[in-house]
Amino acid sequence: MNNLQSLSYYWPEIILTVTVLVAILVDLFYSDKNSGKTALWVLGGLILTQIAIYVQDSEMTRTLFMGNLAFDPFASFFKTLTILSTVLVIIISQKTNELDGHRTGEYYSLMAIMVFGMFLMASAIDLIMIYLAIEIVSIVSFILAGYLKGDLRSNEAALKYVIYGAFSSGIMLFGMSIVFGLAGSTKYFVIQEAMWNLQGSAHFAFTLASIFILAGFGYKISAVPFHFWTPDVYEGAPTPITAYLSVAPKAVGFAVIIRFFNTVFGDGGAFIDPSISTFTNIPWPQILAVLSVITMTLGNLVALQQNSIKRMLAYSSIAHAGYMLMALPTLSSQGAYAIMLYLFMYIFMNLGAFFVVIYVKSQGGGESFDDFRGLGWKMPIVGIVMTVFMLSLTGIPPTAGFIGKFYIFASVIKVGPQLYWLAIVGAINSVISLYYYFRVVKVMFLEGEPSETIVVPSASVLAILFTFAIPTILFGIYWVPIANWVSQSLKLFIKVM
C-alpha cells in the first residue's frame, strides 16, 4: 500500500507527532516553574492517540508504507501498552522530588517522542525501520537518563547508556548488513523466504548476523549478556525514568523479538507450527532457553546483593526479562500470549513498586533498605500496598504477577518434557526472588516498632497507589478480559505466500 493510502491508517502516530510539536511549543510559553504543565498537554495527546488506536483497532491486518510497517492487532496491543505505561509514568513523575529545579517541559515532550519510537518498534517489519525505531527510542532515553544535568550519577548513567547503546546498535547494524547481503532485502518476509534456500557456507554468515542482531534486541530488553548498562543506568537515572525504562522499552523490545522470530525464523507469524522455527541450523530454542536461564538467575543472584531498593528493582527487572524469555523458546502462540500477558501485569506491579520508592524518597526517606525500616508501622497503607507489589513480583497468588508467571510456566510446560527443566529452573528462581522481595517486607514490618504517629498519604498519592495496587490484586483474581484482549491481539500480519 502506498504512502498516501497508508496515512489513513496512521492516525495515532500523526496525533502523537502533533502532540510532540504542541508540547514543545506550549513549553516555550511556560515559565520554569510552570513548565511542568506541559505534562497535561502530553497526557491529552496520549489519550487522544489511544482513542485513535481504539477506534481504528480492527481485526484486519495490512502493511503500511510499502511494507515497512505492519498494521495488526499485535502492534496495537503494544501501542496501547506503551501509552498506558507512559501515562502512568507521567503521573508518578508528578510526585517525585528529583526533578525539582529542572525545567520539566521537554522531559514530557521527550517521553512523547519516545512513545513514537516505540510505536515504530511495535509495528516495524523492515530492518531499516527496526534500526530507526530502536535508535529513536535509544537516543531519547539517553537524554532522559542524563536529565539531571548537575547530578554526577545521572551524567555517568547517560554516558554509559549512550556508549553501550550505540555500541550494541552498531553490532546489530553490522548483523543487519550481512542479512541484507544474504537476503537481498530488508523486508522480513523476503528474508524469511530467502532463508529457505540458503547455500551451505551462507548458513554460518547468517547465524553470525542473526546473533549480532539478537545482541541489539537483547540490549533493549537487557538480557544477559547485554544487560550491563541496566543497573548503572537504572540507578543513575531519575527514578521515574528508571521505572519507565524498566517497563515500556522492554515491552516493545519483546514485541520486536516476538515479531522478528516468529516472522523470520518462524512460520511468518502465523503461530501455526512452531516446529519449522528450526529450519535453519540454529538451535534457537536452546539458545533462548539458555539465555533466559542465565538472565533470570544472574538477575536474581545479584539482586540479592543490593542494599538500594531501586537498584534491587533494577536487577529484578533483569530477572523478569529472564522469566519472559522463558516463553520465547516455544516460539508458539502460547509463548507470545504468555509474554504479552506478563508484560501487561508487569506494568502495574513494577511501576507501583517504583512509585512507592519515589514516594518514600520524596517523604525525606531514601532508596536503601534501611530507609524502609519500620515503614509498615509508620505508613501502614504504603507498607501494605508495597507488600502487594512485592508479592506480585515474586509471583504469589492471588496477584497479577502470579498469573503472569502461571501463563509463562504453562507455555513452557505445554511444549513437553524436554523443557520441564526450564520450568523448574524458573520456579526455583522465583523462590530465590522471594528472598530479596521479602527482605523489603521484612524491614517494613518485622523490624521497627509500632509508632504512635501514623502517616496517611495525601489523597492524590493514595489514588495513585490504588491505581497500581487494585489492578495488581484484581487481575490476580479475575483476568478474563485481559486474557481475551491478549488473545485477540495475538494476530500478526501474515504474508500470504
Partner: protein, 101 residues
C-alpha cells in the same frame, strides 16, 4: 580487485578496528570514534551488497539513514560528554565510576 569480497573484508577490518577502539580507548571521544567506525563498516557492507548483489536501492537508503542516525547519536553523545566534562573535569571513562558497586 574490485569485487564484493574486497569490500566485505575491508568492512570486517573496519568493524574489528572500531571494536578494538571501543574496548581499549580511555578517552570518551575516542570511544565514540570507534563506534562511528563500526557504523561505517556496516554502511560499507550495505553499499557493497547493493552494488554487487545487483539489488534494489534499499541498501543505499539504509546507508543514508545510518549516517543520519550516527550524526544524531554523536550529537547527543557529545552533549553528554561535555556535561560530564563540566562535572568531572575529565572525559576519561575510567574515572567516571560513581556507580561502581
Amino acid at each position: 580487485m574490485d569485487n564484493l569480497n574486497t569490500y566485505l573484508s575491508i568492512a570486517a577490518i573496519l568493524f574489528s578496528l572500531g571494536m578494538f577502539g571501543v574496548i581499549t580507548r580511555r578517552n570518551a571521544i575516542a570511544v565514540l570514534m570507534g563506534i562511528e567506525l563500526i557504523l561505517n563498516s556496516a554502511n560499507l557492507n550495505f553499499l557493497a551488497f547493493a552494488k554487487f548483489g545487483g539489488m534494489n536501492m534499499s541498501g543505499h537508503i539504509f546507508a543514508l539513514f545510518v549516517i543520519i542516525m550516527a550524526a544524531a547519536e554523536a550529537a547527543v553523545a557529545l552533549a553528554i560528554i561535555i556535561n560530564i566534562y563540566n562535572n568531572y573535569k575529565t572525559i576519561n571513562v575510567d574515572d567516571v565510576r560513581e556507580l561502581r558497586q
